[in-house]
Structures are given as C-alpha cells and as structure tokens.
C-alpha cells in the first residue's frame, strides 16, 4: 500500500476557507499481509466510537479520528507532555483488495482494519491432469 495525500477536490472557492484550524497527527501504523488479507493496525488514543471514521473513495483508504473534548480547563495544568489532536492518514489501495468487505474494529485506542483480498488475487493451485 502506498501512502497518499489527496488534495482537496472541490472546484473554485476560497482555498483558505477549506482549511481547518485543527492540528492533525499522522498516527503510527503496522501493516501486515496474510494469505487472505491485509491488516492495518493504527494507534489512535483518545478517540471513541463516535470520533473514528474509516472510508474508501477512489481506491484511497482514509483513516480519520477526532479526539474527545476533555474539560481540562476546569483544573490547573501542572505538567504537560502531550496534547490530544485529531488524526488523519491515507493509503492508496491496489486492485488486490476487495473493497466491499473491509471491516474495522476499535479497542483501547487501537484501530484494526482488515482488508480482505479479492478472490482473483488469492494464491491458487492449478490441478494438473495427467494423461497416460
């Protein structure tokens, strides 16, 4: 899978207006391949069910996560090492993937996406007829 950043496709208009103020982080991923599928594992701490979205559009897999709003300003900050940010990352899929059957699971801030291979891409054994 190749990494991809897709430019905004919208025609015309003010480009500045399409930009968001929010910061995005590129989440770390593991991608491995088995005989029948590709598995993408992605760390997105601070994102709940409602905040995660995984989509495929024109062969581009998009992972997006919106972090929870935490009411941090209610208390005084003593020490800070991280800031929760939104996540965004895209990958280009090849024809090998059956895009209809992609599934995803979120558990403890880790997103697991299973991308099954299309039937035609799976390894096949050809029966050989032996005559005589």
């Amino acid at each position: 899978m190749t990494e991809k950043t897709v430019p905004v496709k919208k025609d015309g208009g003010d480009i500045q207006a399409t930009r968001e103020d929010a910061r995005y982080l590129i989440p770390a991923v593991d991608i491995f391949e088995t005989e029948n599928e590709l598995v993408v594992i992605c760390d997105v701490p601070g994102v709940d069910q409602a905040g995660i979205s995984v989509g495929v559009d024109e062969n581009i897999l998009t992972i997006e996560g919106r972090t929870l709003d935490r009411e941090e300003d209610l208390s005084k900050e003593i020490h800070r090492e991280y800031r929760l940010s939104n996540y965004h990352r895209q990958f280009e899929l090849s024809d090998v993937i059956d895009q209809e059957k992609i599934s995803a699971e979120l558990k403890h801030g880790v997103l697991t996406i299973t991308l099954p291979k299309a039937e035609k891409a799976k390894p096949k054994k050809i029966d050989i007829k032996v005559n005589g």
Binding site: A28, D43, P45, D48, S75, R80, Y82, H108, V110
Partner: protein, 154 residues
C-alpha cells in the same frame, strides 16, 4: 532604526509566524512525530503524561493505547506514583517478512513520578478508556488549600 519595544514586537511576530508554519504545513512535520507513542529507547518517557490539579484532587492522564488493562499496574508509595505495564507485541503467527510497515513499537515500560503533595491512599481511582489511562488522586486533608480566618482587631 529599531527602538527596544519595537524590536521585541518584531521578534515576537517572527516567532508567531514561524510557529504557524510548523503548525499548519503538514510536510514540515516529520511523518511520525514524538506522538508516535513509541516506548523504544526512551522507555522512561513512556507513557507520555499530563498532570492537572484542583483544590481536592490531582489528575494524571497517560497516553497509552493498546494496553491490556489487566496487566496494567498503578501504585502509590510515599506520594510517588508508579505506572507499569506492557504494550503487546506483534502477533506471533505473522512472519516478520509479512510486514509492509512497522511503526508501532511495543514492550514493557515503567514510569514513576513524584506527586508534589500529600495523597490520601484511600482516594485513588484509575480508569483506562479509549487508550488513555486516567488516574485521580485525592489530596489528603493537610495538603488542601485552607482559608485563614482573619480576626479584625479593634
């Protein structure tokens, strides 16, 4: 020629605009930043923590996705908070050569920090939610802020 306050303002404006560049332009940032939650070499820097407090409590939040809450341990001793656990490694069934990308690190970690005030050991709660470990430590009575009654003299 610059006068002093003008120069300071110019410098500040420059710093702001540079900050803005680093905040908004995605390709200036490294592809996987410090937020990659990698224990790796900096095991003592894992998990990353934020600490907040108010009058009655201290809140410690840790960025630690993908842990098994059963294996996570939080202890408090002499106002020193210690978090230890293990981030699960890669599934054993998968051969190393089957990996296309491997950016997430794994391993055991331990991190302790001194909480700067007296903690009531009976008022500690910890919750693991969406990859964040949220620890709430109740302050003991003597470290809570106290309002001093002022006696008005005649």
């Amino acid at each position: 020629m610059f006068n002093r306050s003008n120069l300071a303002r110019e410098m500040d404006a420059l710093r702001r605009s540079l900050d803005q560049v680093f905040d908004t332009v995605p390709f200036v940032r490294p592809p996987v930043s410090r937020f990659a939650f990698l224990p790796g070499l900096a095991a003592r820097q894992y998990p990353l923590i934020n600490i907040f407090d108010d009058e009655n409590r201290v809140y410690v939040e840790c960025l630690a996705p993908g842990l098994d809450p059963e294996e996570l341990s939080v202890t408090v001793e002499n106002n020193k908070l210690t978090i230890r656990g293990e981030k699960n490694g890669k599934p054993k069934a998968v051969a190393p050569e089957a990996y296309h990308r491997s950016e997430r690190a794994a391993g055991k970690f331990i991190r302790s920090m001194d909480i700067g005030c007296d903690i009531d050991p009976d008022k500690i709660t910890a919750e693991y939610k969406h990859g964040l470990l949220l620890i709430t430590l109740g302050k003991s009575e003597k470290s809570k802020p106290r309002r001093i009654q002022i006696i008005a003299g005649q």
